[in-house]
């Protein structure tokens, strides 16, 4: 025991105290010379009580020295942080960051396989640039900000067929061998001339929208080179702040603006899109004690999109055309109606084939307005006790969709096929569509969703070899609902809706009378059964984690997103609904009054199945990970996945097939209504995947990661956007390979630092001052080799006349050609597919060919970067120059061949992915 007098004496002697086993010097603060200190030497009181003094001193180990040293002893070397972590300087108070520019233009690019030889490549300029800066303000505060910009001008090459000036005058004499029939008399027009007086006044007003041909090709006589313009600006800022050693804060804000002009086949039908995305996230971590940690986070993001036609705000434009029954609610909706012409460029926004459905969505194109707000609050509490790490979590999120407008059909859609006169454009001139669709009412949707989740997880380290993880979560996830009292559905909502059924508004007295207990604005009952258990284990047989075996099983529920819901909520009579008038066999529809000139137009129904359930995924995984040598690892993983109750849109009120010319409407189970599209949780998905990975971490000169994935995925779903099963009464026939995943895929990525420089394989000492020219070279790249994507031959249109597209042909053979027999002119054996006999005495309404039975061409891509990094200052400033080759070997990656049987392009490939592109980039890091 130390005597008091001895203690007194020790105190008299400067800087001597009794340490843990040794006498140590303890510096007096703040008198210089000061000790090496860290910014904050406070420790949690629990730690202070429990830790011996020598540990506290270990914590105080740092690189900053308090004292007069900065002002004496000559110039300070600024490289203190650099040399320890040699990327760039991260010194307290000093700003670090980078500035960069990536540039591409058409002079660097190779010609696409299908680009015409001898013609210049379309204009293309792409500049991507940015600036980032950060600083450690002091030991507690760190800030970071960045700006990223993108400017793209890309000339497009869109080929189409437009009517000639003569045809626009009614002169179809150019159509050799084809007689135009006068639908009014049933006899041909003399010399294929339509009298001026017969040109419909509405058509005459729309004629100027068709440009004159500008190419000689009789099949593709018009090329549009309107450039696509895309400008993006994104700013983000981040702050990390340490209130104390127990409490830390993180905040992030970013805002991104995007402005795009998307060209279309015809000049008047481009669209402008303005997007703004804002994100805020806040995160606070507090340690109550070393084994009790609480994390709180809150997030908000807001995405707004406005896509408008080029004619938006041209008040009175639609009315001036004189089409009865279509109108806009607001000048922002202004524009032309959609005019679909089979065989010709259509009057609509779009860059691809239009399936001839109801024409909303992308073909309507505008206005497409949505403002989404997402609020989320999350808490996690971690408690460590013995070998258990317990985590309790809670999530609450609110989703809002405000002022959403996604359909342009209020302006109407009119379809011309040429079935009355023999030419679609002639039908158009005469003003006799075979079908007309319009939206009635306000298509504005304001949707809400509130999601709760509670979870508990226990990670139990049983021994050094074995860890078991158990978790259980519960989701309370009601479907999106409308804030307005504008949700209605047909009751009973069956595949064959009975004639006594009726449309009822949810939450209404009538709905309750019928036993529907949905609230106002509610489209489906809440699924309250979303339990998510999981069990996993990690076993390391030798306890050193070089070899680890992992196994797990879990159930995950997915919740509905707004895109799945927006077409199924508030889309029915009397709020907003689609009416379809059609007269496929007689020229009864008049373009001036299409909805009043024929049999009454039929209302369509868009609804959720009120008994909708959330999809759930059963996931099982088994993996073996082995680390060998110093930096290599091999990982084999099997993952099985079974998704049940997957969403898909089911067509209903579908008539039985019938011969061509039989009107559809009167054959529907409920002829008072048109087609129903019902969002249902009725499909499934299973996949089995084997994943083998070989990795080498970057040690020395190179890193490599090679992965091979072998997947087999099967589903009878087709998503929630399109609803085109071949036979809606036999959805089992849709079960097939999943169409969005190649069966086999190999990827290789690598980084190689050339071993040139001081102390490396190839010394540069001989180069003296010029040695930097030879040092700092790096090659990196990604190689992807994968199978094609599943697809299948189809029958164009609706030849079995059941009102549902997506019919398939008969399959007479495999359809697969040997690789030596494949070419862009014939990628698969087209003779193995035949049109079913739809018109014979014993018609075959459905072909026997399956879905997704063929694969598109395989893809190969080598992306290679050559990088030169030069250190330009002693404190680590770097200048980086790089040249990037995308598809470096210019391999032609062909897209899907034509899939419509009978079309000239059946089995023919007409498009390829990008040819080689070269990009140059420069970046300066400071």
């Amino acid at each position: 025991m130390t005597k008091p007098w001895l203690l007194a004496l020790i105190v008299l002697l400067p800087s001597l105290t009794q340490g843990a086993g040794t006498i140590q010097v303890e510096q007096e603060e703040p008198a210089p010379p000061a000790a090496v200190t860290a910014a904050n030497q406070e420790l949690p009181s629990e730690l202070e009580e429990s830790l011996p003094p020598d540990l506290k001193k270990i914590d105080s180990f740092g690189m900053e020295i308090k004292g007069p040293w900065s002002s004496q002893g000559g110039p300070r070397d600024e490289s203190i942080a650099l040399v320890v972590n040699p990327f760039s300087v991260r010194k307290r108070g000093k700003i670090y960051g980078s500035i960069y520019e990536y540039h591409r233009n058409d002079s660097f690019d190779a010609r696409n396989f299908f680009d015409p030889v001898g013609e210049p490549l379309p204009e293309f300029k792409r500049n991507q640039f940015g600036l980032s800066m950060g600083a450690f303000i002091n030991g507690k505060l760190k800030v970071f900000g960045s700006y990223d910009g993108l400017r793209i001008i890309k000339g497009s090459t869109m080929l189409s067929l437009v009517p000639t000036p003569q045809m626009k005058q009614g002169d179809f004499s150019v159509l050799a061998g084809k007689n135009l029939i006068d639908p009014a008399t049933g006899i041909p027009f003399p010399e294929n001339l339509i009298p001026q007086s017969r040109i419909h006044p509405v058509s005459a007003k729309l004629l100027p929208l068709f440009p004159d041909p500008n190419r000689e090709d009789p099949a593709r006589n018009y090329v549009s080179n309107q450039p696509i313009v895309n400008n993006n600006n994104t700013i983000s800022a981040r702050v990390d702040y340490e209130f104390s050693s127990r409490t830390k804060f993180f905040g992030n804000y970013s805002i991104g603006d995007s402005s795009r002009f998307l060209a279309s086949y015809l000049p008047a039908f481009g669209t402008t899109t303005d997007d703004r995305r804002q994100t805020v996230s806040l995160d606070l971590t507090h340690s109550f004690s070393p084994n009790k940690v609480l994390n709180l986070s809150a997030g908000f993001n807001r995405d707004s999109t406005i896509q408008l036609s080029q004619q938006a705000f041209q008040k009175g434009l639609l009315d001036s055309l004189g089409i009865e029954g279509v109108s806009v609610l607001d000048p922002i909706d202004e524009g032309y109606p959609i005019v679909e012409l089979i065989g010709y460029a259509s009057l609509k926004f779009g860059r691809g084939f239009s399936g001839g459905g109801f024409g909303g969505g992308s073909s309507g194109g505008s206005p497409n307005i949505s403002v989404q707000n997402n609020y989320s609050f999350k808490t996690d509490y971690t408690y460590v006790r013995g070998k258990h790490t317990l985590a309790l979590g809670g999530n609450l999120s609110f989703r809002q969709l405000n002022g959403n407008r996604s359909w342009g059909t209020r302006r109407g859609q009119f379809n011309f096929s040429g079935q009355f006169s023999g030419d679609a454009f002639a039908d158009f001139l005469l003003g006799i569509p075979y079908a007309a669709v319009r939206g009635i009412g306000s298509d504005r949707a304001d949707l809400r969703q509130r999601l709760w989740q509670l979870s508990i997880k226990d990670e139990w380290k049983i021994n050094r070899n074995l860890t078991v993880s158990m978790a259980l979560a519960y989701d309370y996830a009601p479907f999106l609902h409308s804030i307005h009292d504008n949700v209605s559905l047909f009751y009973p909502l069956l595949f064959e809706p009975p004639r006594h059924g009726e449309i009822v508004v949810t939450g209404s007295h009538r709905a309750r009378e019928l036993g529907l207990k949905l609230g106002r604005g509610q489209a489906a009952y809440t699924d309250k059964n979303d339990w998510q258990p999981s069990l996993g284990l990690a076993y390391s047989p030798f306890g050193n984690n070089r070899l680890v075996l992992r196994a797990s099983y879990r159930i995950i529920h997915s919740t509905m997103n707004y895109r799945q819901a927006q077409n199924s909520i508030g889309r029915n009579y009397p709020f907003f609904y689609l009416e379809r008038a059609e007269s496929p066999t007689r020229p009864d529809l008049d373009l001036s009054r299409p909805f009043a000139s024929a049999a009454p137009a039929a209302q369509t129904i868009q609804a959720m199945d009120p008994y909708l359930r959330n999809p759930y995924i059963q996931q099982r995984e088994l993996s073996l990970q082995y680390e060998f040598l110093r930096s290599w690892s091999l990982e084999l993983t099997y993952e099985g996945r079974k998704t049940t109750r997957l969403f898909r849109t089911m067509p209903a009120n579908v008539p039985l097939p019938a011969g061509f010319g039989n009107p559809i409407q009167e054959r529907r189970p409920n002829p008072a209504y048109g087609r129903f599209d019902i969002l249902a949780s009725s499909s499934s998905y299973t996949s089995d995947e084997l994943n083998a990975q070989l990795k080498r971490r970057l040690t020395g000169a190179f890193s490599i990661q090679a992965a091979f994935v072998w997947n087999k995925a099967i589903s009878d779903g087709w998503g929630w956007g399109l609803a085109n099963p071949s036979n809606p009464r036999n959805t089992a026939a849709e079960r097939s390979m999943w169409g969005f995943q190649p069966p086999k895929q190999f990827t290789l990525n690598y980084i190689l630092d050339l071993p040139v420089g001081r102390g490396k394989l190839l010394s540069t000492a001989w180069a003296g001052k010029f040695s930097q020219l030879f040092e700092g070279w790096r090659i990196s790249g990604i190689t992807t080799i994968m199978d094609g994507w599943p697809f299948h031959p189809e029958v164009f249109g609706d030849p079995n006349n059941d009102g549902v597209w997506g019919d398939r042909p008969n399959r007479l053979g495999s359809g697969i050609l040997p690789s030596s027999g494949r070419s862009v002119d014939k990628w698969f054996e087209t003779s193995h597919f035949a049109m079913p006999d739809f018109a014979g005495p014993n018609p075959q309404w459905f072909g026997n060919s399956g879905r997704n039975i063929l694969l598109t061409p395989a893809e190969r891509s080598w992306d290679i970067s050559v990088i030169k990094r030069t250190r330009v200052s002693s404190d680590g400033n770097l200048l980086e120059f790089r040249v990037q080759f995308f598809n470096a070997f210019n391999h032609a990656n062909f897209q899907q061949p034509g899939s419509y049987i009978g079309a000239p392009t059946f089995g023919v490939i007409s498009n390829a992915d990008n040819a080689r592109e070269i990009e140059v980039a420069i970046k300066y890091s400071f």
């Binding site: 340490g19 843990a20 040794t22 006498i23 140590q24 010097v25 210089p32 000790a35 090496v36 730690l47 020598d54 540990l55 914590d59 180990f61 690189m63 020295i65 004292g67 040293w69 000559g74 070397d77 490289s79 203190i80 942080a81 320890v84 972590n85 990327f87 991260r90 960069y100 792409r126 991507q128 980032s132 950060g134 993108l150 981040r238 050693s245 993180f250 995160d283 971590t285 340690s287 070393p290 084994n291 940690v293 971690t382 070998k387 380290k461 050094r464 306890g543 050193n544 984690n545 990795k695 971490r697 040690t699 980084i751 990196s780 790249g781 992807t784 970067s865 990088i867 995308f886 970046k923």
Partner: protein, 232 residues
């Protein structure tokens, strides 16, 4: 009363106890490169870099196409590492141009770092750098938010004698250049956890971001023997 006074006089003339004198500072002659090498690639220091190449045309994250996540793992309890830090500080503050008086004063300031008592502890420091600022922030927050308890089942030091030695203490990073400090006991039940006969000592950190789920770094024991002494 005379006895305490005599004792005080006697003590005043006794040589100072313990390492109050700056030890042989031959490291003061190291060039910067030597100190850097000691901190980044020596028997007591490892770098583990996890890479990711971003595909697609255009820039990646802040203009970076190849993402490097590098962990710097150092045996801070090994004297050579602390000497290297000391030498870096000397160079930083212009030690070589200081007057003898200033040098002595500076040496005193460095002393607590150099003479850090690690006789009972193995100290592993881990710092992290990435050229993806988001990744760097995430990993930094991970290290900041951990405690010895929360890391207890995630961090191990393994030797052939003692597989999976548990963490004794943890200090979140205060400075980037030093990083987080993981502290393990040198003894287990009175026996040393590492001897000259062992092949290696391995540091493991499971479930860490930026490292494809785990960081594992092995140090060979043989190169850590200086003279006859195992230094770690």
């Amino acid at each position: 009363m005379i006895t305490p006074v005599l004792l005080g006089i006697l003590l005043a003339f006794l040589p100072e106890a313990g390492p109050t004198k700056f030890p042989s500072n031959f490291f003061s002659s190291w060039p910067r490169e030597k100190a850097v090498q000691m901190l980044n690639a020596s028997p007591w220091a490892r770098q583990e870099t996890f890479t990711r190449v971003i595909s697609g045309v255009g820039s990646g994250i802040s203009g970076e196409k190849e993402i490097y996540n590098t962990f710097y793992i150092r045996l801070l309890s090994a004297r050579p590492i602390r000497e290297a830090y000391a030498r870096i500080q000397q160079i930083h503050y212009g030690y070589d141009r200081m007057s003898p008086e200033a040098k002595r004063s500076f040496d005193q300031a460095l002393l607590p770092n150099l003479e850090m008592d690690t006789s009972q502890w193995i100290v592993v420091s881990v710092s992290f750098r990435s050229n993806d600022p988001n990744e760097e922030s995430r990993v930094r927050r991970f290290f900041q938010s951990q405690t010895a308890r929360t890391l207890k089942n995630k961090v191990y030091l393994s030797t052939p004698i003692c597989p999976q030695l548990e963490l004794s203490a943890y200090f979140p990073p205060r400075e980037e250049s030093v990083g987080a400090k993981f502290i393990f006991s040198r003894d287990l039940n009175g026996a040393p956890v590492l001897t000259k006969k062992c092949d290696n000592i391995t540091f493991e950190l499971l479930e860490v971001m930026g490292a494809n789920s785990r960081l594992r770094s092995a140090f060979s024991v043989k190169p850590m023997i200086v003279g006859e002494e195992l230094v770690f």
